[in-house]
């Protein structure tokens, strides 16, 4: 199976793995089981790899990964995710991770887009403007 064919098939499988617009673990399990039954070993690996990449990207799109320095309450994380849900028009769930290297504030990544409200980010932008 060519990489392009694997990518195309992975897209189709991703569509089958969604429930209410989000990736459902039970559907993913069912897809993997079906793949293992239908495809021989040498075809299965590239297909699974492409499928994994597609699922990973879709999960990242549905998540707001909030890196924060200092404490962040669950309500605050929910409010941040709610803001992005409203802006992007799709459900986004918060995933918080502490990162003291940010010094203060937080940084939110949804898919490939990063919104930086941290102190370290502002200092970096200041340094770049002085360079």
């Amino acid at each position: 199976m060519t990489p392009a064919a694997a990518r195309s098939e992975a897209k189709r499988l991703l569509a089958l793995s969604l429930q209410d617009g989000t990736v459902a673990p039970d559907r993913v399990a069912a897809v993997i089981e079906a793949l293992a039954r239908r495809h021989p070993g040498h075809e299965l690996r590239p297909l699974l790899r492409a499928y994994l990449g597609a699922v990973r990207r879709e999960v990242a799109r549905a998540e707001a990964r909030i890196e924060h320095a200092g404490p962040l309450s669950a309500e605050a994380a929910k409010a941040i995710a709610g803001h992005f849900s409203a802006a992007l028009g799709r459900p986004i769930r918060p995933v918080a991770a502490r990162n003291d290297a940010l010094l203060a504030g937080f940084r939110v990544r949804v898919g490939d887009d990063v919104t930086d409200l941290s102190a370290s980010g502002r200092l970096e932008r200041l340094a770049r403007s002085l360079a």
Binding site: R7, G53, D113, V114, T115, G121, R122, R125, S129, L130
Partner: protein, 508 residues
């Protein structure tokens, strides 16, 4: 110190405190100077990518799931899993007069150890060439200082003239001599205080050359006092292919600053053969389909969009390009040479045979052409050199009969004798360009028969003696020629008197 504090305070006051937004991706593979990055969903073609460790890259391949990013720097510091982010900017380089006398790399970073550049502006490396309407016809001379070229293959400001030949035929020497000649002319012109004088600034782009060659070139330019009017963009063979691909574009951006600001510049691309090879390497690594000689399908466009940016603009300045192409075994019908020949406004073809015969510069007058022609010559030059190309063509036709010297009629012998002397006159040592007025005077003397009774092997010495005599005895006549005046009867009389005096005292 207070300046630094003020600068920091100003930057803090002007700091945008809104959220910083960027688009990121993750490096999934690294190979041969190219990073495959997953993510970067918002990246644009040719956008600069910020990589860890202060490295920069350019997004050249936008595939469905990954972005092929050419890394401009040492890729060994990167690892799979590292984050890359878009910058929202295209690749740009510092420009301005602050770069004169400096050596920079393909990103515009100084590499000569002389500290930061004094430059306030940046120009994008990739830019759309001027259209048809903003252009002006080429009618101002770009004197190379090389008689064989200025007399028979004249180059104008805003022209693209290819220098093509096998290895070690003197291509780089011609380019360097041209740069030195501009510096010499600049010094004379600026010292004269003539308000109409327009200096020419030079940019030398070294692509894929040995570091020792680049160092030698810099030394030659410094010795000739040409570095103060010159910028060197260095992408040596040790640099990664991305730097070698972008270096000519960076040099062009530097030249465009002069052109856009009403000044004249000359850019030398040494050489575009290595440039094409570097582009081929990058394209193959990016898995782009390959065509003839494994070059990608857009190798013509690579050079056409580069060279089309050299032009003369109405109401502004000009950028003259001297691209260099190295042929293999004199094959001008190879892929990249034919591409560049069709793009440029003429070519100076250097032949190994001529070089080995001692005819240096080894310019093949028959195969060389300037499509701008005498429109780019000063009046005096057109007056004396207009017939030289035809006479030398006739000479070459008759040279086959030279072995039958005793059986030739007087006219044929005359043509052959004059041709031999012209060929000898046009020989020039390297790094010794001649001013236009001197060239005109020497050719005038040749056409007037002053060299007819001088032995061929003494022509060079005779020309040197005549030059010294003219510079000391007739500076005013030379000055008028330099300012573009025709040789009128009075001027011709003065030249005749000077040549008579010289001839009386010259002993071959």
């Amino acid at each position: 110190m207070s300046d630094a504090i003020q600068q920091i305070q100003k930057a803090i006051a002007g700091l945008d405190t809104r959220a910083g937004k960027s688009n990121v991706g993750t490096i999934v593979s690294l190979a041969d100077g190219v990073a495959a990055i997953e993510g970067l969903s918002g990246v644009m073609m040719n956008e600069m990518i910020e990589l860890p460790g202060g490295l920069q890259g350019v997004a050249l391949n936008l595939a469905e799931d990954t972005v092929g990013c050419v890394v401009m720097g040492d890729i060994s510091t990167l690892k799979e899993g590292m984050e890359a982010r878009t910058t929202g900017r295209l690749l740009s380089v510092p420009v301005g007069k602050g770069l004169l006398g400096r050596v920079v790399d393909a990103l515009g970073n100084p590499v000569d150890g002389k500290g930061p550049l004094a430059s306030a502006e940046r120009y994008p490396v990739e830019k759309i060439a001027p259209g048809i309407i903003p252009r002006k016809s080429v009618d101002q001379p770009m004197q190379t200082g090389i008689m064989a070229i200025d007399a028979m293959i004249p180059i104008g400001r805003g022209q693209r003239e290819l220098i093509i030949g096998d290895r070690a035929t003197g291509k780089t020497t011609i380019a360097i001599d041209t740069i030195i000649n501009q510096a010499n002319a600049n010094r004379v012109g600026l010292a004269s205080g003539d308000p109409k004088f327009r200096p020419v600034y030079s940019i030398y782009v070294a692509v894929g050359a040995k570091n020792s060659s680049i160092a030698r070139t810099i030394g030659t330019l410094e010795k000739a006092g040409a570095m103060e009017f010159c910028v060197i963009v260095a992408a040596p063979a040790a640099d990664n292919a991305a730097n070698q691909v972008f270096a000519p574009f960076a040099g062009t951006a530097i030249g465009e600053w002069f052109m856009e600001n009403g000044q004249d510049a000359l850019i030398v691309y040494d050489d575009l053969s290595k440039h094409a090879a570097a582009y081929r390497q990058i394209s193959l690594i990016l898995k782009r389909p390959s065509g003839r000689e494994a070059y990608p399908g857009d190798v013509f466009y690579l050079h056409s969009r580069l060279l089309e940016r050299s032009a003369r603009l109405a109401g502004k300045g000009s950028l003259t390009a001297l691209p260099i192409i190295e042929t293999q075994a004199g094959d001008v019908s190879a892929y990249v040479p034919t591409n560049v020949i069709s793009i440029t406004d003429g070519q100076v073809f250097l032949q190994t045979d001529l070089f080995n015969q001692g005819i240096r510069p080894a310019v093949s007058v028959g195969l060389s052409v300037s499509r701008v022609g005498s429109a780019a010559q000063i009046k005096a030059f057109k007056q004396v050199a207009g017939k030289v190309k035809g006479e030398l063509a006739q000479y070459r036709e008759l040279a086959a009969f030279a072995q039958f010297g005793s059986d030739l009629d007087a006219q044929t012998k005359g043509v052959l004798d004059k041709g031999d002397r012209f060929v000898e006159l046009f020989k020039q040592p390297p790094n010794a360009p001649k001013a236009a007025e001197i060239q005109v005077a020497l050719i005038w003397a040749m056409q007037s028969g002053y060299f007819a009774d001088i032995a061929v092997k003494s022509v060079q010495a005779a020309a040197a003696a005549l030059q010294t005599h003219l510079e000391s005895a007739k500076p005013k006549v030379l000055g008028r020629i330099r300012l573009g005046e025709k040789i009128d009867d009075a001027g011709a009389a003065e030249l005749k008197s000077a040549c008579d005096t010289w001839k009386r005292s010259f002993k071959a």
